[in-house]
């Protein structure tokens, strides 16, 4: 059964275009130009119950706006959506009790009080049974290793500790849907990994539906099997993570180790050198020419070791967005809208 169904969802904002300078500011008092920004432009997708899906895209792509629409924070300009069988922007309490929104850049806990005070308030707001509350709090604080910190004022916690407290607050009422917007933003590597491991474990145990936006591909690769890629408000790809590399990357990385101490000088004729540490070299080669290139290299040089890898997902996605930008600047070239369910 789908947890989220979105059909042709649109959200348009009207943004004041302020020109530079004092004179323009004065003119702005009398007349203002507004630009129409289609933050979400006809987006459609379905997420099944228990899925953990990554929502990827560059800044301003429409990821967070879609999350805001699904959490009922903003009303759509057009289109339909249901989450857990509810229309999100109706903001029914029966829906709000079943989902959580965690925004990495926003603090929902009481800044000057210990996190346990916020948790106690959540217990009442979400009407959590006292025994169940104690059990969940115990479980979550132990999983996230913050049991000793819940009596400390939130302002005195590190960013990583605070984010873990935010997650506890978001999960105390055992939501069926978790919307995560950049949950690891600004965290150090250790904290990032701890949050990732926790989310993976929690989702596997509870089978809750998770929609995650993140700029860290490591988050995405560690947690999600499926990704929806959005750019300029439109869905560019919706499918398995591996599919992204297959579909959008025209190159692979060939890792070669030559016999001896050096790398042949003319190696660049086989592909773009992306790293050279003699006698090892990494080449970026066209996917469809790998057999020919490999055969040519093996027949010409003494090679001790060879490996062929996919390009990092991060690079492929970045390249995809760059390609979108170039397409926009070139007239008469239509931006292809990727598949969407």
């Amino acid at each position: 059964m789908p947890a989220i169904e979105v059909r042709d969802l649109q959200k348009t904002f009207y943004v004041y275009r302020k020109r530079e300078g004092l004179l323009a500011s004065v003119k702005g008092l009398f007349h203002r130009d507004y630009k129409e920004v289609r933050a979400v432009d006809g987006v459609s997708f379905t997420i099944e119950t228990g899925e953990m899906v990554a929502f990827l895209g560059p800044n301003g792509a429409g990821k967070t706006t879609t999350l805001k629409l699904l959490s009922g924070l903003v009303f759509p300009t057009a289109g339909e959506a249901t989450a857990l069988g509810h229309v999100p922007w109706k903001r029914e309490n029966s829906y709000r009790r079943r989902f959580s929104l965690v925004m990495g850049q926003k603090n929902q806990l009481w800044w000057d009080l210990p996190a346990q005070e916020s948790f106690r308030l959540h217990k009442e707001i979400y009407r959590i049974d006292a025994t169940e509350f104690d059990r969940r709090l115990d479980e979550l604080t132990s999983l996230l290793e913050v049991r000793q910190l819940i009596g400390q004022p939130v302002r005195e916690l590190s960013l990583g500790e605070r984010m873990r407290m935010e997650l506890i607050a978001a999960l105390l009422h055992s939501p069926d849907l978790l919307l995560l917007d950049e949950p690891t933003i600004g965290l150090d590597v250790v904290s990032q990994r701890r949050v990732q491991e926790f989310l993976k474990h929690y989702q596997a145990e509870r089978k809750i539906t998770v929609l995650l936006t993140s700029h860290y591909m490591k988050d995405v690769e560690a947690l999600c099997d499926r990704a929806i890629i959005i750019n300029e408000g439109k869905i560019k790809h919706d499918g398995p993570l591996e599919g992204i590399v297959d579909r959008f990357s025209r190159h692979k990385i060939m890792d070669l180790q030559f016999d001896g101490v050096s790398v042949p000088e003319d190696i660049s004729q086989y592909g773009r050198v992306i790293e050279s540490r003699p006698p090892r070299v990494k080449l970026e080669v066209p996917r469809n020419q790998i057999p020919e290139i490999l055969s040519a290299l093996l027949s010409r040089y003494n090679i001790e070791d060879v490996g062929v890898q996919e390009r990092p997902l991060e690079e492929v996605i970045a390249e995809m967005f760059e390609a979108d930008k170039s397409d926009k600047t070139a007239p008469a070239v239509e931006v292809t809208v990727g598949e969407s369910r």
Binding site: L73, M103, I125
Partner: protein
């Protein structure tokens, strides 16, 4: 019903705890609010010392001090420092999101937050207020009857509700304009004059009678005037009913504004 009462109680308790965190700043700010009261009493002393007659517009110096102190009690209930600007800030920076995604009523939450704010304020301010009233006891004619005191307490409770609803309404306008500082400044100016904070409204003659139809007089003038015996029992009942209508009307307008505001909310700030 019981669950809602429990939520409100926990909100109140948590807000009280929060208010007490920065105790030094809070105590200092509360005590400093008495400074204008003292200077105002001296100012009226200077005005009356140079007045051609002992009474001005029916008020002697003692009447004026008594009025002013009682008006300040009304203000202690109706003033809502930081409420409108706080709502506007939350709308602007996106903090308001937590109220919109959780099963909680934002206005109800803000109300209990303000109750906590006031309770802590009264805890700190009661002592100094009592001292000032004791020092100025000769300017009061004595304790009024029970009915007047009951009406006064009701008027103070409704002054609190009215002050809360007016300021929250100004704050909610930030859904449209984001910045409400100027609007708030204008409101504070009008409030200072038309609530009877600056001078009693019956000093203003015909204009005072006209502005008495506005809600502002209930924020300071009306509670003070009750204690000074300006109203007959029949007038008291009538005025309290009108005040209640204002409260209900403002509550309805608040609810409508909130419902419309969140519809056009852009959820800026990440």
């Amino acid at each position: 019903m019981l669950a809602a009462a429990r939520v409100n109680w926990i909100i109140l308790r948590t807000c009280l705890e929060e208010r007490l965190v920065y105790r030094a700043d809070f105590a200092f700010a509360t005590l400093m609010r008495f400074l204008p009261i003292v200077t105002q009493i001296f100012l009226w002393g200077a005005i009356y010392a140079n007045a051609p007659t002992e009474k001005m517009n029916g008020y002697s110096y003692g009447d004026m001090v008594a009025y002013y102190l009682l008006a300040m009690v009304g203000r202690a209930f109706s003033s809502m420092p930081g409420l409108a600007s706080g709502i506007a800030r939350d709308v602007r920076d996106g903090t308001i999101k937590k109220f919109l995604t959780q099963p909680i009523d934002m206005l109800g939450y803000l109300f209990w937050h303000r109750v906590a704010h006031k309770l802590v304020y009264y805890l700190v301010a009661t002592g100094p207020f009592l001292l000032v009233f004791y020092l100025c006891r000769d300017y009061f004619t004595g304790w009024p009857d029970g009915l007047t005191i009951a009406a006064w307490i009701a008027s103070l409770a409704m002054a609190f509700l009215m002050g809360f609803l007016i300021e929250s309404l100004i704050g909610l306008i930030s859904f449209w304009f984001l910045e409400v500082t100027s609007l708030l400044f204008i409101y504070m100016m009008i409030n200072y004059f038309l609530s009877g904070h600056m001078i009693p409204l019956d000093w203003l003659g015909g204009f005072g009678e006209a502005v008495a139809y506005l809600p502002f007089k209930y924020l300071a003038y009306f509670p003070a005037a009750i204690m000074l015996g300006h109203y007959s029992p029949a007038e008291l009942g009538f005025e309290l009913c009108i005040e209640l209508c204002w409260v209900i009307g403002l509550l309805i307008v608040n609810r409508i504004t909130f419902a419309r505001g969140v519809r056009r909310y852009g959820a800026f700030g990440g």
